[in-house]
């Protein structure tokens, strides 16, 4: 069956303007050559540290941003260059749940107005009030609170309002951009379970974004790991979590408290040296090479990495497991990454 969403070579570079004349002096490489597809009815988890381009990817797919390069296909149709007007009917199919439950709801509108907005915009006939109240009930809000304002609700309830709004037009795809990151841990599970039950009831497809691997694991069928604007590993959740092939994935996973990630094996923490490089000037070759423990394992020296890591960008490809990884030296079961860097952190 044809995938719901296909993204190919997606790239977004934000120009940086400086000086009196606002000349372009460089670019933020927010998203670089990203390719993946989302199958109908599945949840694709997109993980990576803050600033790696997850939200930008989401906004590109929803056409809230214009792609610099690449194509986005929805149900086989190329929507990359559609105008705002041409996009309008498609807006019903593609929805988003936002990260910040405070800034994502207009403080001057009642819940009724907020959840009713999609009906008003698309000129949908019939009683908006009863439709909105049905939605409120479905997401676990009291329909009698129709006339209340966002400030009267807790963070978790506000996120439910955001979910109701996204659900209003019966979309096919909902992009959830860190929908629980701003919430208390005790409330995160409630919202995640709500999303799962809605997916089941309405045959929804999710692109689920988070920097928290534990959260993504809980909801995702497949997982894509991003680093500095690129996807470094993608595959079924069990494969990526069980036997990660990219050293970055392994490092991320090792930071998740055991038990939460559900990893089969007990992981020792892999501490990466240095910080994430700036997306304005990403490292050549594999963007991860300056911090990569595996590259150092290959050379046997903490200060050296193989030449191709420094010069050639590794493609996403099958790497010994069922998933795909963008690495010249994908992990093998006997690699002991924590040994490589933990005894001699570079630059300190």
């Amino acid at each position: 069956m044809e995938p719901l969403v296909e993204v190919e070579g997606l790239t977004k570079r934000f120009p940086i303007h400086r000086g009196l004349l606002q000349r372009t002096v460089g670019h933020v490489h927010a998203v670089e050559d990203v390719t993946f597809s989302i199958r109908r009815g599945e949840t694709l988890g997109l993980v990576g540290e803050s600033g790696c381009g997850k939200s930008t990817t989401a906004r590109l797919i929803l056409k809230l941003l214009e792609a610099t390069e690449g194509t986005i296909r929805f149900e086989g149709r190329d929507i990359t260059r559609l105008s705002a007007r041409e996009m309008r009917p498609l807006r019903r199919e593609l929805q988003m749940v936002f990260q910040d439950p405070y800034s994502s709801l207009n403080p001057r509108q009642t819940v009724g107005q907020i959840v009713g907005t999609p009906f008003a915009i698309h000129g949908i006939e019939g009683s908006t009030r009863s439709k909105v109240q049905d939605l409120m009930e479905r997401v676990g809000l009291n329909p009698e609170h129709y006339n209340r304002y966002p400030h009267e609700f807790s963070g978790g309830q506000r996120q439910r309002i955001g979910v109701a709004r996204a659900l209003a037009l019966s979309p096919k795809l909902i992009v959830c951009d860190e929908p629980v990151s701003a919430l208390d841990v005790s409330i995160q599970a409630q919202i995640l379970n709500l999303l799962l039950s809605l997916q089941h009831d309405f045959a929804l497809t999710y692109l689920f974004i988070s920097h928290d691997l534990g959260v993504v694991r809980h909801v995702s069928d497949r997982i894509a790991v991003m680093y500095l604007g690129r996807i470094v590993e993608i595959g079924d959740a069990g494969d990526v979590y069980g036997v990660p092939k990219h050293p970055y994935t392994a490092a991320l996973l090792s930071a998740v408290p055991t038990g939460e990630a559900g990893g089969e094996m007990k992981r020792e923490r892999i501490i990466l040296s240095g910080d994430v490089p700036s997306p304005v000037d990403p490292p050549p070759g594999c963007a991860f090479h300056p911090r990569c423990p595996k590259a150092r394992l290959v050379t046997g020296s903490p200060d050296e990495v193989p030449e191709n890591c420094r010069t050639e960008i590794p493609p996403l490809r099958n790497s010994g497991g069922r998933q795909q990884a963008a690495c010249w030296y994908p992990l093998r079961p006997d690699d002991e990454l924590q040994r490589v860097v933990s005894h001699e952190p570079r630059g300190s």
Binding site: N106, Q109, G140, N142, H145, Y149, H151, I187
Partner: protein, 320 residues
């Protein structure tokens, strides 16, 4: 700050809790602000005085604003006489009842200040919203124009315009601008809209970055809908506050123009003009300066108190 600590996750079950709109919350806060309430009382009184100046003058004093009482109220040297039981505020240099003229002066002040502020707010909101929402060229033009106007030596220029357009009956620009009340309103509005535009622009710039704007866009909302439904409702509070604070400064602006003899026409009672009339004789006729001055101070103070009270009550941070 009821929002964060107040309702908890189980709140859907507490159906009996009555919700309050942002407006109700603001009124709650305003109600407990005594200074602002006092200011509001003064403003209400002033509005009543302006509306019923004629009636009050007729029944309390029995005089009209331009009735001359040279025989009763000027001494042998032609100097006005002070307050007595018939002329509560005394008489002015022409022998008119100062009490009645001060009442009518309230009408002039409020009328001009409100009209000028209304026009300024309309222009300021339209241009400020356009600049902040569309940014780019629209923003550059609006921002430069406001910068220039705010940098101008305002009173000096106003004197220039008023002198050029106010002295001849035909006005200037081929009669497009004629002397009189509307000219004063025009001048004041011209110099005060940039304040509103600047504040509105700043607010729009920050609101347009909020996720709810992006959400509206992702639902397919167009610019017009986003501006009117999503952005403007969030601007009501600052617009109300800064309009209220603009009124007293415009009242003073009118008084200054009239003081300089460039404001309202000769026969129209105006506090500013009364003060300028008083300037020559205040050592012998203190009441000429005291009463119009008192009203002017009370009026501007009242509006400022209400404006500050509104700012505290409507503060978006405490309203969240």
């Amino acid at each position: 700050m009821t929002s964060l600590a107040g309702p908890v996750e189980s709140a859907p079950l507490m159906g009996q809790v009555v919700g309050k709109s942002p407006r109700q919350l603001a009124w709650e806060r305003f109600r407990h602000d005594r200074a602002a309430l006092a200011g509001l009382l003064v403003i209400v009184l002033l509005v009543l005085i302006s509306i019923f100046a004629g009636v009050i003058g007729k029944y309390l004093a029995g005089h009209g604003p331009n009735d001359l009482f040279q025989r009763e109220m000027t001494d042998e040297f032609g100097l006005p006489l002070g307050p007595n039981s018939d002329f509560w505020f005394g008489a002015d240099t022409a022998g008119r009842d100062l009490f009645v003229r001060v009442l009518y002066g309230a009408r002039t002040s409020l009328l001009i200040a409100l009209a000028a502020t209304g026009i300024a707010v309309f222009i300021g909101v339209v241009l400020g919203t356009a600049a902040g929402y569309f940014r780019g060229v629209a923003d550059t033009i609006v921002s430069r124009v406001t910068d220039v106007i705010l940098a101008l030596p305002l009173l000096l220029l106003a004197i220039g315009i008023a002198a050029a357009c106010g002295t001849t009956k035909e006005g200037c620009l081929n009669g497009a601008i004629e002397p009189g009340l509307s000219l004063v309103v025009f001048i004041i509005a011209l110099f005060s809209w940039p304040y509103i535009a600047r504040i509105v622009r700043g607010n729009v710039l920050s609101i347009r970055e909020k996720e709810f704007i992006e959400s509206a866009r992702s639902l397919g909302a167009g610019n017009v809908r986003i501006m009117f439904r999503e952005v403007l409702p969030n601007l009501i509070a600052p617009i109300i506050v800064y309009s209220t604070l603009l009124i007293p400064s415009n009242i003073l602006f009118e008084a200054a123009l009239s003081f300089l003899g460039l404001g309202v026409p000769q026969e129209t009672p105006s506090w500013g003009r009364m003060l300028s009339d008083a300037a020559g004789v205040f050592d012998v006729a203190w009441w000429l300066m005291l009463f119009p001055g008192l009203f002017l101070v009370a009026t501007t103070l009242a509006f400022n108190l209400v404006g500050d009270g509104l700012r505290d009550a409507l503060d978006p941070r405490s309203g969240r």
